[in-house]
Amino acid sequence: MKLTEDDIYRTSTQYRHWSFTHAQLDAKRLKSNVQASERVKAAVARHRAQRNLDITSESGMGESSMGSGTETGGNTPLAQGLDAEVHCLSVTEEMKLVDTFCERALQLGSFLKFPIEVTATGIQFLRRFYLLNSPMTYEPQGISKTALFVANKTEGHHLTLEKYAGAMSKTTPEQVQAAEYIVVQALRFHFDVRHPFRGLKGAHLELIEMAHGKAATPPNSTQSAEDLQNSMSQIPRKDGGPAAEWTVSDLEKRITDAYGFASHILKTTALLTDSYFLYTPSQIWLASHLLADEPLTLFYLSTKIPSDSDLHTKLLKALRACALLLSSHHTFSPAHSTPKEKEAREKKEKQEVSALLKKLKQCRDPDKLDLVKLNQAQKRDAVSDGGDLEESKAKRRKVEREGFQKEADEFWGPELPKNGNGAKGA
């Protein structure tokens, strides 16, 4: 018995809850943005009113706003004077920030030497998080650290929180943990992310087998392994080009090059775009492979689906759309962009981002500035009104007591302490 990849994918939370059309994505982001903007404005107004009240009562004068900005110091939106309009981020600006922090998470992952699935999952967590939240409410720098840490747990990588936080400057374990509940809640507790890496690897191995004339052909296939090898050796160099003549070893090199290129796209560009929301993992790796070597990919597809079938047309349409999404991202650098162009682009990018970060500072939700404090407050509540913590303590003590009793009853008595305490006594 066997399930097809599609059967399995269709039951995944990624397909059921995190796959969207372009229009749905836009709508979600707009909704989060509008809600956050309203809330920031309301919260700022509330804080201002509150402070106004404080000033009034403290000074005993009926005077209002003037000069109060100096009292708070800091960089809260309040500092800029009471009547200043709060300029909220637009959806586009939010997206730009999220994209930027996805890139930084990618760098962080490689700095921490995380396996690519951990980083990749972390980045998708971050992107999923900001479908339902705005950077104005939860600033992306902190959230990205938490998201990556959660991914480290869900992927079973087991880097401890202490080591994780310790590896980064200006980061405490409390900060990383403070947003954990906020993040997992926004992820709707869906911890599994389906990646395209293994699919690509599988296709690579399969192509190599084909090149050697050893492909396992499906039972009802009209082509033998030798037929496949033959037609493979004639794949044109370029799409639409004339039939070429490949030796097995040249073909092997071509396949491996394509794999390397496609794999690089999957580990960078694909993670930084909306591809995971819009396409399935197999569409994503096929699209990357298409960008790497179109004739080879078309050949591969033709071994699975007849080129003249409707399904083939439909599939290719999806693949080309996905490929376009990938190739239009700035991290996708085809050979013809010069280092100078690249440098200029990066410089411009940097300026834009720092301007955005500046703007973000002015429109942060004042209620969510200090997540560590918020988190502590919630935990305090948990201790005071739920009896559970006390209960678990009592239970733990009981278990310890029983364990001790049991050990003591054993023939040889309890185990000796491990750390040389025994030697001291001797």
Partner: protein, 416 residues
């Protein structure tokens, strides 16, 4: 699994116009939150703006669907409560509330992370259904699980008042093997299969539960921990400390579970890993390079002829002849014994995988498996009910039995 009202759809993500309609107006504590539920386009200047995020709102909507009842059981890692859907008090659930563990510094417990991760992806008639997950304000995570009031497979063979035979064993074994096959098709290793992690539903079907130790298949070459699977059910490669192993570790456990059903006692009851190994040698023979190429390279492998310090002999043993297997596991029939031998093959490379297990002729041989509604189960029958009443005093409907669910749902306490 289809027709249960318990499977009401999750609330949709807040797409345009996609708001759950079954909100209960009676819920009092949440009136404030509901006031804030209105689409974001309303004026946010309402004085009652409590700042509920979209995600928080979705979470609250999920939480609102359930009513938590009395506590059914307690473990070190979670408490289990009886619960039901607010709109339908007759559709029961078990609510597993993960405790905040002060000793674990890294946030949400890994058991919970793994259980949620894998159960959310696996939807199968013989795997426990995770209906939903929600958190409370005080950062407790709760898993809403299928309510399974009829005990577990271990309790079943231990219960002397229940009688069963070849066809019943085949039915249970078949459901178990399908569940495990489904996990493996989804690239998930369970890593803690044992009788008391296999729960029994009201309709007689079995449900594989407790995914607290599960993991996805590793990429080839990446090491995994060998310290998984309860010892009685642990395959020899893990007892030998293998860091690279495959899905057939679960098959070994299934083999042990099926054997236990047939002999109504533990197959490899052991206090230590060494004892476990010597019991395995007794039945399956001592692993050597001849019957398991590569075994001598495993970290904790001890070649035969040495003697253990505690006096247990380690002279090489031959596997018991097939006649002994047939005699001992007579309830499985000849085909069943053949399958069992395939599942308890020492060499993991030669052990059957889940696909091969399902393709085995045992399933097609006579007798046919008992239809699940005719399977005996604890919790049915007068005696069992009497027992429940004794245990629980008056004991409302099903409480005593449900108590069992609670205990079975939480085995992390025993793992330490």
């Amino acid at each position: 699994m289809a027709a249960s009202p318990a499977l009401s759809p999750r609330p949709n993500p807040p797409g345009p116009g996609a708001r759950p309609s079954n909100l209960n107006p009676k819920s009092k504590g949440l009136a404030l939150l509901h006031a804030n539920r209105s689409p974001a386009t309303t004026k946010a200047s309402t004085p009652n703006d409590t700042g509920v995020d979209l995600a928080e709102q979705m979470n609250d909507d999920v939480r609102e669907q359930y009513v938590q009842g009395k506590k059914l059981g307690e473990g070190t890692y979670a408490n289990v409560y009886k619960g039901h859907y607010r709109h339908d008090p007759t559709s029961l659930v078990a609510i597993k509330k993960i405790k905040i563990n002060a000793d674990y510094k890294d946030g949400i417990a890994m058991d919970a992370v793994r259980e949620i991760k894998f159960l959310s992806e696996l939807s199968h008639p013989y795997i426990i259904k995770l209906h939903n997950v929600f958190s409370t304000k005080d950062q407790n995570i709760s898993l809403v699980l299928e309510h399974l009031p009829c005990g577990d497979l271990e309790a079943l063979w231990k219960n002397p008042t229940l009688s069963y035979s070849t066809a019943e064993i085949k039915a249970w074994a078949s459901m178990l093997c399908q569940a495990v096959w489904f996990c493996h098709e989804n690239s998930v290793l369970h890593r803690d299969i044992k009788g008391n992690n296999i729960l029994i539903a009201g309709d007689g079907s079995i449900k594989l539960a407790d995914f607290g130790l599960a993991r996805s298949f590793a990429d080839p070459g990446r090491p995994m921990t060998y310290n998984v699977i309860t010892r009685f059910y642990r395959p020899p490669e893990l007892l030998y400390g293998a860091r690279h192993y495959s899905s057939v570790v679960d098959i070994w456990s299934c083999g042990v579970v099926i054997a236990e059903l047939a002999i109504r006692q533990f197959l490899f009851p052991s206090e230590t890993d060494i004892q476990a190994l010597s019991l395995i040698y007794e039945l399956c023979g001592t692993p050597i390079e001849d019957n398991w190429p590569g075994v001598t390279k495993l970290e904790f492998y001890v070649p035969p002829t040495q003697t253990f310090t505690n006096g247990v002999s380690n002279a090489a043993k031959r596997a018991q002849p097939i006649s002994v297997w047939k005699q001992r596991f007579s309830l499985l029939g000849d085909e069943g014994v053949d399958l069992l031998r395939g599942m308890l093959m020492l060499d993991p490379k030669r052990r059957l995988d889940a696909r091969k297990v399902l393709a085995h002729r045992y399933w097609k041989a006579l007798p046919r498996p008992t239809p699940r509604e005719k399977l005996p189960k604890a919790g049915g029958g007068e005696e069992k009910m009497g027992e429940d009443l004794k245990r629980k005093g008056i004991g409302g409907e099903g409480e005593g039995r449900a108590d069992k669910v609670a205990r079975k749902l939480d085995f992390s306490s025993m793992r330490k």
